[in-house]
């Protein structure tokens, strides 16, 4: 597990999905980068932090049965690669649903949840996870 500072320094991106926009080429990136991989040195001074809307569609997904210690609390759990509406892909857990309800293309939105805990009395790390949404913005089962 990462040390607390290693986690905290990424908090703006983990809590609010703050990414990076290159104003030289107009592309979005998440997580933030130091330079734009397309524009290289031309992007220096032309980038800005941008908050992702947090909405997108499942690009691929899996249900994890065996894995990392800190995620074993609730096994199995679902991990998806999500293509955000800004056109960037991110990896994260999908919660509050059954794997059978998901398919490639399912709409999801990001929500702030507990990611992991360091030790029994340790620091709790928070970050984004995804929940499925209907096209009208409601989650399945809301009706």
């Amino acid at each position: 597990m990462a040390t607390a500072p290693r986690f905290w320094r990424e908090n703006p991106s983990r809590y609010n999905m703050v990414g990076f926009k290159c104003n030289s080429c107009g592309k979005f990136y998440f997580p933030p980068r130091i330079i734009c991989p397309l524009c290289h040195r031309k992007s220096v001074g032309k980038t800005e932090p941008v908050k992702m809307k947090g909405t997108g569609a499942i690009f691929s997904f899996t249900e994890i049965h065996e894995g990392m210690d800190e995620h074993n609390v609730q096994k199995p759990y679902i991990v998806a690669m999500v293509e955000l509406d800004e056109g960037v892909k991110v990896t994260g857990q999908v919660i509050d649903c059954d794997v059978c309800d998901l398919s490639i293309g399912t709409r999801v939105r990001a929500t702030l949840r507990k990611l992991s805990e360091e030790g029994s009395a340790g620091v709790i790390h928070y970050g984004y996870k995804f929940v499925p949404v209907r096209e009208n913005g409601e989650r399945p089962g809301d009706e």
Partner: protein, 388 residues
């Protein structure tokens, strides 16, 4: 650039080798390669060691110096260098050795690869392996190393209609090949049902879709081609070497069913060799998961994109097929001691081209290929070998 030959190979047994330490494994493979090459220790000019994570597996860094010391070549103060590129550590070490000889800097170079994985628990081993992915933006958000490959598998099945059974066929074939290899970790044939009924790891991948944790080491000895006949009657030339990188995180790739780094490394290796895919008789590819072999045989250009599963099902990658893939049993059955894997692939191909692969010999094999991957494809290295 000078032409480079392999003049000696050595490999330990692969498996859970509780009575063997890291240094015992490394020296064991090294001694057999040096004796196979019929060179004496004082002729060695440089050592490269592929190793991913001795620091976490056995709490020992600085392992190139360790191997040089315990093999008795540190007395001559030869340069000893560790090479790390996660799962591709061994293949990249081979490329470093190749470049050292090709450039004219050194004549006789030893390339080893070693990993001792089973001194830590299975969960610890999984976590170490996942450090080949992006720790901050994949692993800490819940993705495991098998999980990332499961994302590729889900998408490959969706885009190309690859079936769960075709994934199983990769494991079945590689176990069938491994059963013919006395050094393999698993020497037992399995059928589709064994794979399909094994415990789920990350859907759709089950335990029999995954390479095991292994201990083991492998070594090759290189020298300029024009010196090779002094040492051996059956030198094998390294005719092509290609290396490439890609984004560390899988999610940064436009297409997760293609490893762009494999494609680039393949193109570079074939260009250097002046050969094409149809020339290749035998290949060792990086089947750390069954889906990885399907993606590999497509990206290497043996089969069109999307047809790797079908080709495997039809037997085109086994004996009597178009190209025999993973005669050693691959990572799945031979075993995957990470840093050793890329060098073990070279040992297998050299044995095939020398005609010494016994029961798993591919008839009249003349050209062979190795493909070694780091992480989910952030590093790829491809080598082409030819019988002299």
């Amino acid at each position: 650039m000078r032409r480079v030959a392999v003049i000696g190979v050595g490999i330990t047994e692969f498996g859970e080798l509780w009575d063997s330490s890291f240094r015992k494994l490394g020296i064991g493979a090294g001694m057999s390669a040096v004796s196979d090459a019929k060179i004496s220790a004082d002729q060695i000019e440089a050592l490269f060691v592929g190793n991913m994570s001795a620091g976490r597996f056995i709490r020992q860094e600085h392992v190139a110096a360790l191997i040089a010391d315990y093999s008795g070549i540190a007395r001559d103060h030869i340069p000893a260098t560790r090479v790390e590129a996660a799962g591709a550590s061994g293949g990249i070490a081979l490329r470093q050795g190749f470049m050292a000889v090709a450039s004219g800097l050194h004549d006789i170079v030893v390339v080893g690869g070693a990993e001792k994985m089973t001194d830590v628990s299975d969960i610890e081993s999984s976590m170490i392996q996942s450090s080949a992915a992006d720790q901050e933006w994949e692993t800490e958000l819940g993705a495991t190393f098998p999980g990332l490959h499961a994302l590729m598998a889900t998408r490959h099945m969706h885009d190309y209609g690859t079936t769960r059974e075709q994934l199983a066929d990769v494991a079945v074939k590689n176990h069938r090949h491994g059963a013919l290899n006395p050094k393999a970790q698993f020497r037992r044939e399995i059928n589709r049902d064994v794979v399909l009924r094994s415990p789920m790891v990350a859907s759709p991948l089950r335990i029999f879709d995954c390479a095991p944790s292994s201990d083991g080491a492998a070594t090759v000895v290189l020298c300029p081609l024009d010196m090779a006949k002094e040492f051996t009657d059956s030198p094998v030339e390294i005719v092509g070497s290609g290396q490439a990188s890609d984004s560390l995180g899988l999610h940064h790739r436009k297409d997760i069913c293609t490893m762009g780094a494999t494609r680039a490394a393949t193109e570079r290796a074939f260009k250097m060799a002046g050969l094409s895919q149809k020339d290749v008789d035998v290949a060792e590819v990086h089947d750390n998961f069954t889906i990885s072999e399907i993606i590999a045989i497509e990206d290497l250009g043996f089969f069109p994109k999307g047809e790797g599963g079908k080709a495997t099902e039809e037997g085109l990658t086994s004996f009597d097929g178009d190209v025999v893939v993973n005669t050693s049993g691959g990572l799945k059955a031979r075993g995957d001691p990470i840093g050793a894997t890329g060098v073990a692939q070279a040992v297998e191909i050299v044995s095939q081209l020398r005609g010494t692969a016994d029961k798993r010999q591919v008839k009249d094999a003349e050209v062979g290929l190795t493909q070694n991957i780091g992480g989910t494809g952030a590093t790829a290295v491809v080598h082409l070998f030819r019988r002299v």
